[in-house]
């Protein structure tokens, strides 16, 4: 059976990292907490893609009496997403260690 190697982009990594630490966040909160690393124009598209990949799951916020408009969506990492992030972090650290030091002969 062919199994695809899970790919995770830089933005996805940042979002997953934030979600792993903060449990549940709105799209807007992710943008605010990323200190400009995640742009508001791309956060919803990235979150949608991450949901398709199974890295995050979402639920709408509980209805507030008298509130108008659409309910906001809260995102949290799945166990699979957290595992992928952990594996990627470990792999990146291992690869960084293998890199030869510059300027030495």
């Amino acid at each position: 059976m062919k199994r695809e190697f899970p790919h995770i982009s830089r933005t996805e990594r940042i979002i997953l990292d934030l979600l792993v630490h903060d449990e549940e966040l709105y799209g807007l909160q992710i943008v605010e907490r990323s200190n400009g690393l995640v742009k508001r124009g791309t956060v919803y598209v990235t979150l949608g893609r991450m949901q398709e990949k199974g890295y995050v799951e979402s639920r709408t916020e509980p209805p507030v009496p008298g509130a108008i408009g659409l309910p906001r969506r809260l995102y949290r990492p799945t166990a699979y997403g957290a595992a992928v992030l952990k594996a990627w972090t470990r792999m990146a650290t291992a690869l960084a260690r293998l890199r030869p030091a510059r300027g030495l002969s």
Partner: protein
């Protein structure tokens, strides 16, 4: 009415339900709860463009394009076959004999001029029926393609066929008479014939003053040129009408089924 309801309606109309729920509704919800409106609107539009680009490439959308194109081509082929059978056979004389039918005015490009705009609606309906889960943007793209095709057919392709026919007739006449008879020069004939002009040339001809073709008589306008200006305007109006017809056909193709559903639900 709360902020963003129009954006929500637009997203629901254009995008697939899944992408609307996962990408655009969260963007609208955050926009409704945030004080920074400009950033919220910007985020929505960026997300919408991305979602539309993805939805157009989805399998359901591709199925709609394929089915609509197949139906469109089948209708055009059928109409062209009927046109060829009628216009290039002894039946043509019979058609000319019927008053008020005006088939003679359609010359040899009736399918391109009349059937292309009218075929958009049934082709779209068929495509949407065969691919019911395609996003709204796919239907919109297919309708836009139909309108552009209709514009190209009536504005450039059909006149080119007419022009080729006139040139062929001229050459056939000259070959048959061995140039013993002096006829109107081909350039003048083509300049007078509004149906043989592409859209830009037709607009130019409609706006230009009547042609003075005799250098020795600067104020003289030939009788054949006197009504050429009006003929150009009439043809221009006809082509605009065809463009409007193609847009209406596209709207019918996009909306007909939902209208039918609404009527059925009410009854």
């Amino acid at each position: 009415m709360n902020r963003g309801w129009l954006l929500h309606a637009l997203a629901r109309w254009l995008c697939s339900p899944q992408r609307c729920a996962n990408v655009l509704e969260p963007a609208i919800a955050d926009l409704q709860h945030d004080s920074n409106r400009l950033a919220g609107y910007r985020a929505f539009w960026i997300s919408l463009v991305d979602s539309l680009a993805h939805d157009v490439c989805e399998r359901d959308s591709r199925a709609l394009f394929g089915q609509a194109a197949a139906a469109f081509l089948a209708m055009i082929a059928m109409s062209a076959a009927v046109e060829a059978a009628v216009m290039r056979s002894p039946l043509r004389a019979a058609v000319h004999a019927v008053p008020y039918l005006y088939w003679y005015a359609l010359a040899s490009s009736a399918t391109l001029v009349w059937i292309v705009p009218l075929a958009i609606a049934p082709a779209l309906l068929y495509g949407r029926r065969r691919a019911p889960h395609a996003a709204g943007v796919a239907g919109l793209c297919a309708a836009a393609a139909g309108v552009f095709l209709s514009l190209a057919a009536s504005g450039w392709i059909a006149p080119a066929i007419e022009r080729a026919g006139i040139v062929r007739q001229h050459e056939a006449f000259e070959a048959a008479t061995n140039k013993r008879f002096q006829t109107v020069p081909l350039e003048v004939d083509l300049d007078r014939m509004s149906t043989a002009k592409s859209l830009p040339s037709l607009i130019k001809g409609a706006l230009a003053p009547p042609a003075h073709r005799f250098p020795g008589y600067p104020n003289y306008v030939a009788p054949e040129d006197r009504y050429s200006h009006e003929a150009h305007w009439m043809d221009l109006k006809l082509r605009l009408l065809l463009l409007v017809a193609s847009v209406l056909s596209g709207v019918v193709g996009l909306r007909a089924r939902s209208l039918a559903w609404t009527v059925r639900e009410r009854s």
